[in-house]
Amino acid sequence: MMESGGSLIAVRDLTIGYGGRVVLDKLNFEVRRGEVFAILGASGSGKSTLLKHMIGLHQPLAGEVLISGENLAGAEGPARLRILRKFGVLYQSSALFGSLTALENVRLPLDEFTNLSEDAKDLIALSKLRLVGLETSATKLPSDLSGGMQKRAGIARAIVLDPCILFLDEPSAGLDPITSAGLDALIRELAKGLNMTFVMVTHELASIFAVANRVIVLDPRVRGIVAEGPPSYLREHAAQPWVRHFLKREAA
């Protein structure tokens, strides 16, 4: 079980880019245990790129991402696997395996990383699907699920090994407002109920105001963070007018 309070993720002097081009320079921020943390910014500001560096898909040009004090970028072999087990990821496209049913998708990490019996694995996978309201769709293939259901199945798969952090890349992308609101409610409940820490990249300001405790706003012109704080506070008091405008325009 997890403790409360304290920093769970620490980004220190992180510089990221491609082919010598720096996208974000010397980023510093922390994500606290149990909070829903959102990364905001205009298109092309490097939000998804930052997320990919935080989950270790890309190597930074400089700096480090510490997850529970361990640097993912420098870790290899079992140490890397141990850090990877601390978080789950929901990708923008859900990234469910098309040839596997929803249940098989959720069971996959259990099959690969545990020696549990078949009954145990099915029970756990079904309980995660029940948590996201998909227990009656367990035997369906991803192609038979709607976009919102695929996202929820993706969340079930991401939390099946009880990670303490869940990274979400554009969780509301392509969803209608009602389904998106349902997903927000699920995030809120998982954060509260499992004391999970959420890091999400999103454009949906309605989602941010519904679930996020704290946000950072990225600006490609300064290649860094221009605002950090609770979204409702930044909407009224951000130093940069464009950040206030950005948050007000969509929130209205």
Binding site: M1, F97, G98, S99, L103, F113, T114, N115, L116, S117, D119, A120, D122, L123, I124, L126, S127, K128, L129, R130, L131, V132, G133, L134, E135, A138, T139, P142, S143, S146, G148, R152, V160, L161, D162, L175, D176, I178, T179, S180, A181, G182, L183, A185, L186, E189, L190, K192, G193, L194, N195
Partner: protein
């Protein structure tokens, strides 16, 4: 700590919280149980040093008396320790024939989803069929989380059998699908041939830049592999035919055989097969990806025909390209066979004379005409397979495979038809 209510989402994403059925608590504790069951068997459990040495965090005791059992859990149940405990407890409890099982989890310091699954499984009586099971000592957070587990879901899963068709139904459906597919292929080739003919009469409608791009990527870049394969094929044919013909004292006719086989048959067929494997698959993958990316839908909604816009150029390139590749394949095959004949002691002049006497312009024309048919068939079917791409990550791969298989099948089929017709005409 844990507190997870069960969510129920409607299909529209509406969401309401309802409690599941958490495991109810209610057990007086070990002392009371022991007082109630004075005739106990010796304490059994896994207070085993081997488990501690293996770093397992869980320990348990099983007390048994008069068909009743008390299971006390200590330490932590996680993804590592749970499988061991699960297996051991199943062996311990299942054959016991217990009428009641009482589980004391008050000493359990840690429990993740795997551990909770074990507790729920025990509580649901899956290890003690028919027994009354009671549990105590579970924290309220874990108790609430247990509401997300459901034996009914597991039973429904085990009872789920996807609908299966009988063998005759499968066979019938597969045959019908095969004929339907063949009809689609023939129709598509016909449609493309008509569009192609139309483009010849109205050449300005054709996007010649695209034709030349395909011509270059599918043709020029294919020359090295065509050279290597046909050179070796020519060499192999010469070697393989030299021995039997030597037994008849007709070894010099190896040159005639080589010339005829390469011009009439192997030149066109090998070039077409390489076109299918190298370029046809690329056509299918390219169009398949365009379909997945909805580029084809964009063409439809702009009022453009994907056949006119994408397919005709590729087929035109294929039809123009295959005779050139075939001519090159014929030449490379002869180049591969001639050194073998020189090695057998025949002078070059004699070999060339033999080839010249055996191969007529008609044979060359037959080979080239055949190759144009192959070009039409391979390019059209490959494009069709690309346009037929379905959904899902494996769809483009499937289209590519189907394009190669269908192309080779149609090459051989059309080759057989052409061979029968030309044989009849020669009579």
């Amino acid at each position: 700590m844990f507190f997870v209510p069960v969510f129920i989402f409607s299909r529209y994403g509406e969401h309401s919280q309802t409690k599941g059925d958490p495991i109810p608590m209610g057990l007086p504790g070990e002392a009371a149980w022991m007082a109630a069951h004075p005739a106990q068997s010796p304490r059994r459990g896994c207070l085993m040093p081997s488990n501690e040495a293996a770093g397992l965090s869980v320990r348990w005791d099983v007390l048994k008396a008069e068909g009743a059992a008390l299971l006390t859990l200590h330490g932590g149940l996680d993804a590592v320790s749970t499988p061991v405990a699960w297996e051991a407890l199943e062996k311990e409890l299942k054959p016991g024939g217990f009428t009641s099982l009482e589980i004391d989890a008050s000493d359990l310091a840690y429990c993740d989803s795997a551990g909770l699954a074990l507790l729920y499984y025990l509580y649901a009586g899956r290890m003690t069929p028919g027994a009354t099971v009671r549990m105590s000592g579970l924290t309220s957070e874990l108790q609430n989380l247990s509401g997300s587990f459901s034996i009914a879901d597991l039973t429904a899963l085990r009872g789920h059998h996807p609908p299966r068709r009988s063998f005759p139904e499968e066979l019938g459906a597969a045959t019908a699908a095969w004929f339907h597919d063949l009809r689609e292929q023939v129709e598509f080739i016909g449609e493309v041939a008509v569009d192609l003919a139309g483009s010849i009469f109205r050449p300005r409608r054709m996007r010649w830049g695209e034709v030349f791009r395909v011509f270059e990527t599918a043709g020029v870049n294919a020359l090295p592999i065509v050279s290597l394969i046909t050179l070796l094929v020519g060499m192999v044919i010469s070697f393989e035919s030299a021995q039997p013909l030597a037994q008849l004292g007709a070894q010099v006719y190896v040159a005639n055989l080589l010339g005829l086989v390469m011009t009439r048959e192997l030149g066109p067929v090998m070039a077409a097969i390489m076109l299918a494997g190298r370029s046809g698959s690329a056509f299918a993958a390219e169009l398949g990806t365009m379909k997945v990316n909805e580029e084809l839908n964009a063409l439809h909604t702009m009022g453009l025909s994907p056949v006119q816009f994408l397919v005709v150029q590729r087929v035109m390139a294929g039809v123009l390209l295959t005779p050139v590749l075939t001519l090159y394949a014929m030449f490379a095959g002869l180049v591969g066979g001639v050194p073998v004949l020189l090695g057998l002691g025949f002078p070059l002049k004699m070999v060339l004379q033999q080839i010249q006497s055996a191969v007529h312009y008609g044979d060359l024309a037959e080979g080239l005409c055949k190759s144009m048919v192959f070009g039409l068939v391979v390019s059209s079917v490959s494009c069709l397979r690309g346009l037929q791409t379905g959904v899902g990550p494996q769809a483009v791969g499937e289209s590519t495979t189907r394009s190669v298989v269908s192309s080779i099948l149609l090459i051989i089929l059309s080759d057989a038809v052409i061979a029968s017709v030309t044989y009849t005409l020669r009579q």
